[in-house]
């Protein structure tokens, strides 16, 4: 329900049929109230993105003239092995971090849902990693995976196992980065799943109990289907965030992505091309490809998990 005539117009009607239809000027307060967002969006949201799309078809070093070069940047992109490596790293990191995050979060949420005591304390503890500064957390995880004094290697040594040069080898770097992402996001998703679980009507569980369904069957036939919209939400949020990973590898292994550039993500590659090589047109092409990648993955998720039809 919305109001039609909350603020009566002060000026006299101007047009002939204004008796029934108010002049658009009489709504000026509403447009003024909305204007800050749309102004900021036009200048700092739409313009940069639209301009980036144009940039992808241009050659520009930031100083000289901008010249149209058609699809040349994309031609270079296809031939560029570093770009493909960055793309591969990004997708591998996305799977290595998102899958454990969401699986552990679901398990924790189900357990937390059935626990009665200390629920509030657990919720706060689980949420804290998510509000921790990415830079500080990346510094911490780099220390934990350090070859010389890291806790992981100390534990391996204590157990008499060979130590690893975690941040010096391709898979070690990926394991360190995804461990950090899992730490930062598992609790957040647990809290979201928990809220979803609490919204499921209890009658359904009682009915399942009457039918003699065990806990596993109940989980797969009632809980999961009911949670589908919530799972879709978390998967899409993880996709949008995960495919744009930047801070974790940049702080842990540096701008170049470490050994064999195995920590270099597409957003890092974009950052390097734009702000170190000043190859703005090429950076624009990379940016556009990331945008397409995010859209593609979101569409796949939507298809697989079946989004609810909503207006």
């Amino acid at each position: 329900m919305t109001l039609t005539a909350a603020a009566p117009p002060k000026q006299a009607p101007r047009t002939a049929n204004a008796g029934r239809r108010r002049s658009i000027w009489s709504y000026w307060r509403f447009y003024l109230a909305l204007s800050p967002f749309y102004l900021i969006f036009l200048v700092f949201g739409l313009y940069p993105v639209a301009s980036t799309i144009l940039l992808a078809f241009q050659k520009w070093d930031g100083l000289g003239p901008r010249t149209m070069v058609g699809f040349q940047n994309f031609g270079f992109l296809i031939e560029d092995s570093t770009f493909w490596l960055a793309l591969w790293n990004t997708i591998v990191l996305f799977f290595m971090s998102t899958m454990p995050t969401l699986a552990i979060a679901m398990a924790l949420a189900v357990m937390l849902h059935s626990a009665v005591r200390l629920k509030g304390v657990y919720r706060i503890a689980y949420f804290i990693p998510n509000i921790t500064s990415l830079v500080a957390a990346a510094i911490f995880f780099a220390a934990v995976f350090s070859t010389n004094f890291g806790l992981i290697n100390a534990a391996l040594r204590g157990l008499g196992l060979p130590t690893e040069d975690w941040l010096g080898e391709p898979w070690g770097i990926k394991i360190a980065i995804s461990t950090m992402i899992v730490w930062q996001w598992t609790g957040y998703n647990t809290i979201i799943y928990l809220a979803g679980l609490q919204a499921i009507p209890t009658e359904q569980y009682e009915a399942a109990k009457m039918d003699g369904a065990g806990p596993l069957r109940t989980f797969f036939s009632i809980t999961l289907p009911q949670l589908r919209p919530v799972v879709l939400f978390t998967v899409i949020m993880s996709t949008i965030g995960g495919l744009q990973t930047f801070t974790e590898p940049q702080v842990m292994v540096g701008n170049n992505g470490g050994t064999g550039q195995s920590g270099m993500t597409v957003v890092m590659y974009f950052y390097n091309q734009a702000f170190f090589n000043n190859d703005y047109g090429y950076a624009g092409a990379i940016a556009l490809s990331i945008f397409v990648l995010v859209l593609l993955f979101t569409a796949i998720n939507w298809k697989l998990l079946g989004g609810r039809g909503r207006s």
Binding site: S51, F127, R157, I192, A199, I290
Partner: protein, 272 residues
């Protein structure tokens, strides 16, 4: 089935300890010297080097200035977001005007645009405005956002009755009067959530400040911390102390408001 409850709480507690362990371990490293950190087996107790480490951080990076900058950015961004977003959300939620639906669909669509990919033209805009290196470059683009408007609008729709708006209007309240006397008081929990969310995001922001804050003497905390890590990476106890100093104020703020915040965060996800 007592053992089942024990296993359950055991697993939940392990997860909780893993979430909080980094803070304990950062504190251990920050109170010991770098040579202590290199010991095997590792030292798990707090040391007495904290003062020295803090002094080293303050010598190597303009910590308090960076923290001041971060506070200025986070506080002004939060205040602007709360004002602009609530005003727009209230308008969308309770009034009808030409183009309302189109404008709202545009608002939703803007959330799909990956803002950080527009960084190159964004930097050019800042250069044209003369804002490169200035905190304005961080505050103004973040002063209103679609997420907050969307989130608050749902809240206004559910929590404010149309009759209340009507009554206030009949009492002679203008648009701003209704906003101030009806909308704002009833939206306090929602505003609290959006405020903390914006503050935390602003405090931890890294990508854009890294690009636009070009003066190394005028940084935010996250960028200063990252440059400390890069230039003094071998002095681990000092870098850890810096990391601790950069995250603790926020953790304290969060813990105070945690209940309200978590409630708000989950409601947004479930309804959205």
């Amino acid at each position: 089935m007592r053992w089942r409850g024990l296993v359950l709480h055991g697993l939940l507690a392990i997860a909780g300890i893993l979430c909080l362990f980094p803070f304990y371990w950062t504190l251990v490293m920050a109170t010991n010297s770098t040579s202590d950190i290199y010991r095997f087996p590792p030292k798990f107790t707090f040391g007495s080097q904290f003062d020295d480490n803090v002094r080293a951080v303050l010598e190597n990076v303009a910590f308090f200035q960076s923290m001041g900058n971060t506070l200025v950015v986070a506080v002004s961004t939060t205040a602007l977001v709360l004002f602009f977003d609530s005003l727009a959300a209230f308008t969308f939620a309770k009034f009808r005007f030409p183009g309302r639906n189109v404008l709202f669909v545009i608002l939703l669509a803007t959330m799909l645009l990956p803002a950080q990919l527009g960084a190159v033209p964004q930097f050019q805009t800042m250069a044209a405005f003369g804002w490169v290196g200035s905190l304005k470059a961080l505050i103004i683009p973040a002063a209103a956002n679609a997420f907050g408007i969307f989130w608050l609008r749902q809240y206004f729709q559910n929590s404010i009755h149309d009759e209340l708006v009507e009554a206030a209007t009949l009492d002679g309240c203008g648009f701003l009067g209704v906003y101030r006397h009806v909308a704002l008081p009833s939206a306090r929990p929602a505003l609290a959530f959006l405020g903390i969310f914006t503050f935390v995001a602003s405090w931890n922001d890294y990508f854009w400040p890294l690009i636009v804050l070009t003066n190394p003497d005028h940084l935010t905390l996250q960028v200063a911390l990252s440059s400390l890590n890069r230039s003094h990476g071998v002095d681990y106890s000092m870098v850890m102390t810096g990391a601790l100093m950069a995250m603790v104020p926020l953790i304290i703020v969060f813990t105070i408001f945690a209940r309200q915040f978590i409630k708000g965060a989950t409601e947004g996800a479930i309804r959205g």
